[in-house]
Amino acid sequence: MENIRLWVEYFWEQISGFLLDAETPVHKLLLMLVAIVLFVVVMGAILLAVDRPKRVPNWLVTAAFAGPALLALAFGLVYPALRTAYQSFFNRNGQEFVGLDNYVTAFVQPEFQVVLRNTALWVLLVPTLATFFGLVYAVLVDRTRFEKAAKALIFLPMAISLVGASIIWRFVYEFRDAARAQTGLANQILVGLGLEPYQFLVNAPWNNVFLIAVLIWIQAGFAMTILSAAIKAIPDDIVEAARLDGLKGVQMFRYITVPSIRPALVVVLTTIAMTTLKVFDIVRTMTGGNFGTSVVANEFYSQSFVQGNGGMGAALAVILFLIVIPVVIYNVRQLRLSEEIR
């Protein structure tokens, strides 16, 4: 008996070792294959079990199809979200109930107020400016000979990671004192204009604007893609009628293009706003949240995983969620409106 127990334990250790501690490249790739095969086998077995048109009750088929997704969502999104909301009323190690203290701190303490101000700045500037650049560019290159190539240029930043983009822009903002040759493009331009080099990422509060520029740079491609498709869908007769009425250039843009693509504009603005709220990679990679540049998403990470203040982190996550809601409601209402009009 004792022997068998030892053998079982030994095998269990081997298996869990294989599954949990992949160190060599071969081991990692093997583990990946095992995971995929395991997944396919389990899902296949479930489907095979319900693949008998008559004998299996309907609810079982439904459970087989929708069950895995709903279970995963309940386990990974719904429950943790509720749990976090609950935790936000507790102190840093989750032992002591503190009521609304964490929220009060978030809104009253000066350093958190800076975080909230920065977040507001991000949510105002990124959607509007990214949409503005995307829209202007989409209109300018619409139906020109270089449209495809020109769009790809703006579009490409969307493919790269925010970390990569942050490194690209940190290099642009690189600072050296005036005595040395500049290596950052932005400071080289300043020096070329006869100005002093500037610490773009250090000098508050303007450093926030230079961080925001990075996300605008990334999101403009998204705005351009959606808006360009909307512009192409404007009925030809409307455009032509306006042209016969003598509308040109900027007027055409103001009175025909913009009103015609209003629903798409709303979607783009709100989608970018929601993305902006959750972005923390840029702040983390470029300044680490120092020099008064932190935003709620970054502060959440710092409080939860660096400072070990679980309650505060949870409160910030809840605040993040609460800020998203009005944006979503606005989005849904606008969609309803535009559907009623049609």
Binding site: L20, A22, P25, L31, M32, A35, I36, M43, D51, R52, P53, N58, V61, T62, A64, A66, P68, A69, L73, G76, L77, P80, A81, T84, F133, Y137, D142, R143, A152, I154, A159, I160, L162, V163, G164, I167, I168, W169, F171, T183, G184, L185, W217, T225, A230, K232, A233, D236, V239, R243, I261, P263, V267, F280, D281, Y301, S304, A314, L316, A317
Partner: protein
């Protein structure tokens, strides 16, 4: 919705009364000409083309600068700006060799981690979401609409709000810091959008096709695999690209659930490099491009699917 290319128009124009009676050019052709003319007008305006070129430059030069830098020798990078490269070009691959295989950074290992993290994190959520989307689109069951709206609403939950409890759970199950925690998290976070998108695509398939199969005695499993899957390939491709880019480029999920050296993907290592060794531009530049090359290739070669997914995702809603 607005961004759809509005096929009804295309069908309507031939029956345009003007065209039937003849005597003037077809309406649609004329409109296209008008547009072409408009485009010519636009290009002839120097302000407009100047602005377009300015935007295009602002959007490419930062990347170009880092790209050029990644091929310059270390001494050159330290000595002066990348624009000097064009005056005296000196090219080296040493930066890439060092960043990939040098003992300090050994990015090659993290490239592998990125691959190992990404592939299952794309396959698993798409499969689960396909099944769920099918249930929401084609199986009648009680509470279907409410459940679907709930799943749709979950899209707005910031993943930050789930992280501390999830991490606690992974620690309890001894999964923390393994690939499993990262795979599981990415899969779960992808589900709401995936289900919603794929459901939309499935609803676009004519019900008569599904009905016909049902009359022939096919069960849901057969309908799913034989009738729907072949038609859904573009939709799956669209979402797969989304998810691929999202996972490959993600920093937050990996930082929280898999930042150990064994598991950490490229983004985590690069962010770390940028934090600790912010001045080593020969490593940062080449490292950044190592991380970018895969998503850019995927993106450029499958751009069409990506755009389609983008349009379906944000405007159909």
């Amino acid at each position: 919705m607005t961004t759809n290319p509005a096929p009804p128009q295309a069908f309507a124009t031939p029956t345009d009364p003007g065209e039937v009676t003849g005597g003037r050019p077809p309406g649609r052709g004329r409109a296209v000409e008008a547009r072409a003319e408009r485009a010519r007008n636009k290009l002839s305006s120097p302000w407009a083309s100047g602005l377009a070129i300015l935007i295009a430059i602002a959007w490419t030069v930062p990347t170009l600068g880092l790209f050029v830098t990644s091929f310059r020798p270390v001494q050159d990078i330290r000595a002066n700006g990348w624009w000097n490269f064009f005056a005296a070009p000196r090219v080296t691959l040493e930066n890439y060799r060092e960043v990939l295989f040098g003992s300090e950074t050994s990015l090659a290992q993290y490239v592998l981690n990125s691959v190992v993290v990404t592939i299952p994190a794309v396959i698993i959520p798409i499969s689960i979401a396909l099944l769920a989307a099918y249930a929401f689109a084609w199986i009648d069951f009680k509470g279907r609409n409410i459940l679907f709206v709930a799943v749709f609403a979950l899209q707005i939950v910031p993943i930050q709000i789930t992280m501390i409890p999830l991490l606690t759970q992974y620690v309890r199950w001894d999964l923390a810091g393994s690939f499993w925690a990262v795979w599981l998290s990415h899969s779960i976070f992808a589900l709401p959008l995936a289900i919603f998108l794929l459901h939309n695509f499935m609803k676009d398939i004519p019900p008569s096709l599904v009905e016909a199969a049902r009359v022939d005695g096919a069960g849901h499993v057969q309908i799913f695999f034989r009738v729907l899957m072949p038609l859904l390939v573009p939709a799956v491709a669209a979402f797969a690209i989304f998810q691929f880019l999202w996972v490959w480029n993600d920093l937050l999920v990996s930082l929280v659930f898999g930042s150990q050296q064994q598991v950490a993907p490229l983004t985590v290592r690069l962010a770390g490099l940028a934090g600790d060794r912010g001045e080593t531009w020969h490593l940062l530049s080449s490292g950044a491009f190592v991380a970018m090359i895969v998503p850019v290739i995927v993106f450029l070669s499958l751009q069409r699917y990506f755009v389609r997914g983008l349009l379906a995702g944000s405007v159909k809603g």
